[in-house]
């Protein structure tokens, strides 16, 4: 049974699909290289070679099928009084962080994200388990939202607990 919550308004940056694809491929390829080298060097385990091929194929399938799907499921929005996200395809999660309860707003960028011009927006509340993360925003957009949120939260008095 689906959860009757409305999806957040905004999709992620389309480039996030390429980033996910690279992720889907990077680990299988790395694994395949290790298996392949071992298979070539050590005779008795030459059957590692077809296994390596299979791993690459699985990675390719994942990279083709999933990012488009994830892209449809992962959504976010900043309303007048909250940051609202939905994430996860199998293990789904809906989160909202009211602006009045936000403590910090950060953007983080890994090397791969930088290559794609992406940023992740991390919004923390006073709860140790309440952080809201939006992965895969255009990095200028993310910085602009972070600044807007920071200004909005500074306007609220108290320590947001």
């Amino acid at each position: 049974m689906t959860v009757p919550l409305r999806p957040p308004r905004e999709p992620l940056d389309p480039r996030v699909r390429s980033w996910w694809r690279v992720h889907c491929l990077a680990w299988p390829v790395l694994l395949a290289v290790v298996l392949g080298v071992l298979g070539l060097l050590i005779r008795p385990i030459a059957w590692f070679l077809p296994v390596a091929g299979a791993v690459v194929v699985v990675g390719l399938l994942l990279a083709v099928a999933f990012p488009a799907y994830w892209y449809r499921v992962h959504r976010w929005e900043v309303t007048d009084d909250a940051v609202y996200t939905r994430s996860g395809f199998l293990w789904q999660e809906w989160r909202a962080a009211p602006l009045s309860r936000i403590q910090t707003v950060d953007t983080t960028r890994g090397p791969l994200q930088q290559a794609f011009g992406l940023s992740a927006l991390v919004v923390t509340t006073a709860s140790s388990r309440g952080a809201v993360t939006v992965v895969g925003l255009d990095h200028e957009r993310a910085a602009e939202i972070a600044e807007r949120l920071t200004r909005a939260t500074q306007a609220v008095p108290g320590d947001a607990t």
Binding site: M1, V3, L5, R95, S127
Partner: protein
């Protein structure tokens, strides 16, 4: 204690003695067993070993004294009007400070050595872990009255602005950082609960009992090893076991584990809860827990940091109609850095006491955990729980079956069958219990959630203390039409869940609890109530 004009104060010099005693104790604990183990060696090497041990002890204790002396000489602290500051460091000087308004908890502890010297350590916590500099400040050690005065001073918000005048008949000490508004046993504290010695009967009903009982065997063997008798002990035990037969020796072993474990868990209870007293300071409303026999602990929770309470029933305790009460408060969440769990407001006590204490702590006429009518969860949640419980309870049977197949003996096949039957029965029972223990409800200003098996936990969370919500759904939950609704909070575990609740009920409950904070996210189709 006099203070220099600039307000910087020093720790108490007798801390050196305490550290020296601790170092000596460690040396003795390490050296004596080693020497005992060397008794069989020849005279010369034994003499050399004794010499080395004594020399090493002198060196270590001397080093401890010097280091501690320098540390004390280099450590200063000051309680200013806005900030608490500590300067310390032998080579690298650090100056750490906390804004006084951010101080959430002050813990006064004293291990036996400090207590003998009339000293106590003070830990000042902010309760927030947003950065590495938020570690609690620790002052080891101050004279006990100074430590208590410091605690009172730091947690006395009004006293900071306008120090109260000494009242007639109240012993008043002019402390360095201002007047001391806090006196032990002063009539302004309302006592909510004191230790009832009969509560010790609940102490053995704990996982601690078998753990300590079995650990005792390990300690015994280790001790025998030190004095070179491990082999003897093992052969003696084997002889006795053979003489008694399998069944009798199993029973004897079990009885020994239970008896030793019971004694040990009672000892642990007495050590941690001796002299327990829960009080509320009348003027500030802060809750104050004081307990401990050898190591005394004293924890203060400001009232506006309290978000609710958790009523915890460890496995088996429900049969005795008893439970423990923990505070759900900001600033008490990081149990990892604390030596003792600072959340405990009440040890395991009869339910009537629990309900009275919960009501008084929350200042409600009736405890929300009692008043609430918990709503049951869908039957699908029971199926999930029974399935999980069976998976766990059938592990021994599966393991035995594997052995039976590998070895091919009928004895193992019989054991497998027995384990399978027992596992099935236990799994079904445990799963059903877990389902019965599921519940959620709303009463007055509190959200109440309950879950767990074989023990269970009931959390009453003030609605105003809820920061926001999170909804999670696994593929299995989706198929069963279930969802888990989490309420996140700055206190305690960070979030408390309503597990495996029906999708529609979850929406309705979230709207009921959070109102405007949840309803904007509902899909238009389900907006009609």
């Amino acid at each position: 204690m006099t203070a220099p004009a600039d307000g910087w104060r020093q720790l108490d010099r007798r801390t050196v003695v305490a550290s020296a005693a601790l170092a000596l104790g460690a040396c003795v604990a390490a050296g004596v067993p080693t020497l005992m183990g060397m008794r069989s060696a020849d005279r010369f090497s034994f003499t050399v070993a004794v010499g080395l041990a004594v020399g090493g002890t002198v060196l270590v204790v001397g080093l401890a004294v010097v280091l501690e002396y320098v540390r004390l000489a280099r450590t200063r602290f000051r309680v200013g009007t806005d900030r608490v500051e500590v300067r310390s460091g032998i080579l690298v000087r650090t100056c750490r400070g906390l804004a006084r308004e951010r101080v959430r908890t002050v813990e006064v502890t004293a291990d036996p050595v400090l207590r003998l010297l009339g000293l106590a350590s003070v830990r000042i916590g902010t309760g927030q872990r947003t950065s590495a500099t938020d570690k609690p400040l620790e002052l080891r050690a101050l004279r006990r009255p100074d430590a208590e005065a410091l605690r009172g001073l730091l947690l006395d918000r009004e006293g900071r602005i306008d120090p109260p005048h000494p009242r007639e008949g109240t012993p008043h000490e002019a402390g360095a950082g201002g007047s001391s508004p806090h006196d032990d046993g002063a009539p302004r504290d309302a006592t909510l609960a004191v230790l009832d010695p009969t509560w010790v009967r609940f102490a053995p009903v704990s996982l601690l009992t078998p753990t300590l009982g079995i650990a005792a065997f390990g300690v015994l063997l280790q001790g025998a090893d030190w004095i070179g008798l491990q082999q003897t002990v093992l052969t003696d035990a084997a002889d006795v076991a053979i003489a008694l037969g399998l069944v009798v020796s199993l029973v004897v072993g079990l009885v020994v584990v239970v008896v030793v474990g019971t004694v040990a868990s009672v000892a642990v209870f007495v050590e941690s809860w001796w002299g327990y007293r829960l009080t509320r300071e009348r003027r500030t409303g802060s809750l104050h827990v004081r307990r401990g026999l050898l190591t005394t602990r004293s924890t203060t929770v400001e009232e506006d940091r309290l978000r609710g309470v958790a009523v915890v029933e460890p496995p088996g305790i429900a049969w005795f109609r008893a439970a423990r009460v923990d505070a759900v408060a900001t600033g008490l969440s990081a149990a990892d850095e604390q030596r003792s769990d600072p959340r405990g407001l009440l040890p395991v006590a009869p339910r009537a006491v629990v309900e009275r204490v919960v009501a008084e702590v929350l200042r409600e006429p009736v405890a929300p955990t009692r008043e609430v009518t918990l709503r049951a969860h869908p039957v699908a949640a029971r199926r999930r729980r029974v399935r999980w419980a069976l998976m766990i309870c059938l592990v021994p049977a599966v393991a035995l079956a594997v052995v039976a197949v590998l070895v091919g003996s009928t004895a193992f096949a019989v054991l497998t069958a027995v384990a399978a039957v027992l596992g099935l029965a236990a799994g079904v029972r445990l799963g059903r219990l877990a389902y019965r223990n599921l519940g959620h409800g709303l009463v007055g200003d509190y959200v109440v959630t309950r879950h767990g098996a074989p023990g269970r936990r009931t959390v009453a969370l003030r609605r105003g203390g809820i920061l926001t919500w999170t909804l999670t759904q696994t593929p299995f939950q989706r198929r069963a039409g279930l969802v888990t609704l989490w309420f996140t909070t700055a206190a305690g575990d960070g979030r408390y869940g309503v597990f495996d609740v029906g999708v529609d009920e979850a929406m309705a409950f979230a709207v009921e609890t959070l109102g405007e904070r949840f309803s904007p996210y509902l899909a238009a189709a389900s907006m009609t109530p």
